[in-house]
Subunit: 251 residues, 2 copies
DNA sequence: TCCATAAGAAACGCAAACGTCCACTAGAGT
DNA sequence: ACTCTAGTGGACGTTTGCGTTTCTTATGGA
């Protein structure tokens, strides 16, 4: 399990984890779940309720009902709704999404194809109920430090590191210019995906990812793009004050 | 007011509307607001509560208290919380954000600078409390058709049209290749902004916008980018099925 | 088989918010 | 000044969900 996955481009179905919980399916023949099995069921129910109802409409009662358990069993383990939700979503991030940080590719795979593969895999996870659950927390994460820490530290940063690693690999292979090891590359890639999902409410196809990558990203990061390199040396315009600061000055 | 604003690059402070409501400030010396003045105060309070508390925690009582009015006055005009919120946010979109669709630039302004100006202006609005209010509806809009219609039709589409117009202008000036009149350009630009604000919880600076534009966007859309043009002709790979469909097949 | 305890169902008291109603008053118009 | 009515503050009955408690029972381990 901790061994890295080395591959050309593996069949994408292998990495699509369908269980909402973190563990085994329920035992057959028993009326009650206990211990870890119950916790898994509760977390799975929580994620499902999040996906369907959003954070604001999720209640401990609805989670308990869905998990076919009592509220007291939930309160015995998680003192607040927020902690239940954070733990449940944390299992997502340490489960199906975390596996996507372990991908490695053999020498036959170009950097472009490796980045594309990662995009497609992350997109597949985000397209499902698990992605719905995470999206439902987006508003909360803007107002609550615990949630926002979860989003940035547990979700964004590992994905960022994966992509940075691919860029570094690309530099070593001569496919990426060294200055392209920059967070803004990650943001351009992730941003378009997020935008498609959140604002357009569509799931990007692989063809979409290819277009984004081949039209905008690869030309910008590949070696020898003379115009691009010159851009980094552009002198700062005098009017470079932070826009938000200006807007708030006038509030 | 309906006249288009023709400008070089006007002072950005002019387009920063600080009032959360849609009309005049409250009259001095009166104990009670009536009519349109009261409605403006209610809408402003609603937007402020949205920004601070989010949709889920917003109550009619809290809006009434903040607007210094009674619940009955709110219910006389808006039958549900959702309708109050949609109306209040709708005033945002027909106010400060809608003005950003009317910008025109004289011949001295390059397409790059016009796009940059638009990005900076939209970014300034999104950086404030009004942006907070809209962001708080993001989760709801994924689950509710009325909200999502609001987001896409009233927020996204006008912004898209503005950018498409700038691209068309660029084509006429020979600064943009004709195939770049494509929604994905809008998505790349808007996506990076959204990502910075939502996931990173930072407000993009003008310098950020310049980098996104000059490193990724302009090189991809300007004429004569031979690699870029060739990309559009890339044959579809056999494995082009929609990723989300595959993921759900395995659910 | 026995025992300890976690789990489930139901009930409970409480708080908050909803949506409505009522009596009084401020404000606009004549 | 008078009249009409929109607006305000408070009260009201209801609903919902929270967090807790209690009693019974299923389950795992010895």
């Amino acid at each position: 399990m901790p061994s890295a996955m080395t591959s050309a481009l593996p069949n994408i179905a292998e990495t699509s984890d369908n269980g909402a919980g973190c563990g085994a399916p329920p035992e057959i023949g028993r009326q009650r779940k206990r211990g870890a099995e119950l916790e898994d069921a509760i977390r799975g129910a929580c994620v499902a309720e999040l996906a369907e109802l959003g954070y604001g409409n999720l209640t401990i009662e609805s989670v308990a009902s869905r998990a076919q358990t009592g509220k007291a069993s939930i309160y015995r383990r998680w003192p607040t709704k927020q902690q239940l939700v954070m733990d449940s979503v944390g299992c997502l991030m340490s489960g199906p999404l975390m596996r996507l940080t372990d991908l490695e590719y053999d020498d036959t795979v170009t950097t472009r194809d490796a980045i594309l593969d990662l995009m497609v895999r992350v997109g597949a996870v985000m397209a499902g109920a698990q992605g719905d659950a995470m999206r439902s927390l987006m508003g909360e994460s803007l107002r609550d430090e615990d949630f926002s820490g979860c989003f940035e530290g547990d979700f964004y940063d590992p994905r960022k590191q994966s992509l940075i690693r691919l860029l570094e690999r690309g530099v070593a292979r001569g496919e990426v210019r060294p200055e392209a090891i920059d967070e803004v590359v990650v943001e351009m890639i992730a941003g378009a995906m997020i935008h498609r999902i959140l604002i357009r409410r569509q799931n990007p196809t692989k063809r979409d990812f290819e277009q984004m990558l081949d039209v905008f990203i690869m030309p910008a990061i590949q070696p020898g793009a003379a115009e691009n390199a010159a851009v980094a040396d552009k002198p700062a315009v005098a009017d470079t004050a932070c826009v938000a600061e200006k807007a708030e000055t006038h509030s």
